[in-house]
Amino acid sequence: MGLRAQTRDHQSLFRRDSRDEELSFQFSRLRDCDAKGLVVRFAFGFAISVVVGAIGIVAGDRLAGLFLAFPAILPASLTLIAKTDGSDKAKVDAAGASFGGAGLAAYGLASWCLLPYGPPVVAELIALLAWCVVAIGGYLAVRLRLRS
């Protein structure tokens, strides 16, 4: 299958996933949550945070900052999703994560702009809000377009 055909295939997968299923938030889904998967994610998060800190000490903050946008938990998530829900769902999850990636740019930008001027914790909270607006807003905008 050519790259163009694959792209069409992935687009239709994403379209089907975001068009056919309603947005939902259910606490009951936590019952199906695999504890081992959470431990794996904690381990990935722990490891990459330690790596960021160690790079900051050894090589400086400029290099350490790159790892703030490191796909720390995606490999674990994709592997777990592929195992439980199939590889189509894993591909759709990766496509959804690209919106989160765009949100990271907004997070970094807001943090960079606000840190010198206000209380740092407030700056980080506003940066988190910027991530939500770009990542969730971007996803919803694309979804709305696909459904219309």
Binding site: C33, F42, I57, L66, F70, A94, G96, A102, G108
Partner: protein, 129 residues
Amino acid sequence: MATGCTAAIYTSGMDDVLLLLFRGCVGGSFVVAFALLSEMLGPKSFAGVFGAAPSIALASLLVTIADKGEHAAHVQSLSMIFASFAMIAYCATAVYTVDHFGALRGSVLAFVSWGVVAAVAYGIVTVLG
């Protein structure tokens, strides 16, 4: 004096190790918190958005601010802006590599695209100074 100096280096090294462990625990907890939130959401494409949540960034920047001050976090934020393009490249590549090589090998292979774009990002950040 030499003993005092060694003791100071040892103490500073211990502080660094403790701080790294603390940083790891905070980062791991944030990752699990966002993962739990993502588990409760549907459909999978929407839950996937939280796969690239700023869990590591939030944890690391807060600890960096507490440890080194705002300036260090400011420098890291600038790098993060450009590195986010590497994250997008990773996600886009993973869609294809997971298809071809399976979830585990595909998601690991996609790191190549992250590395390439992150290297370019580092070059840009270095030039910007």
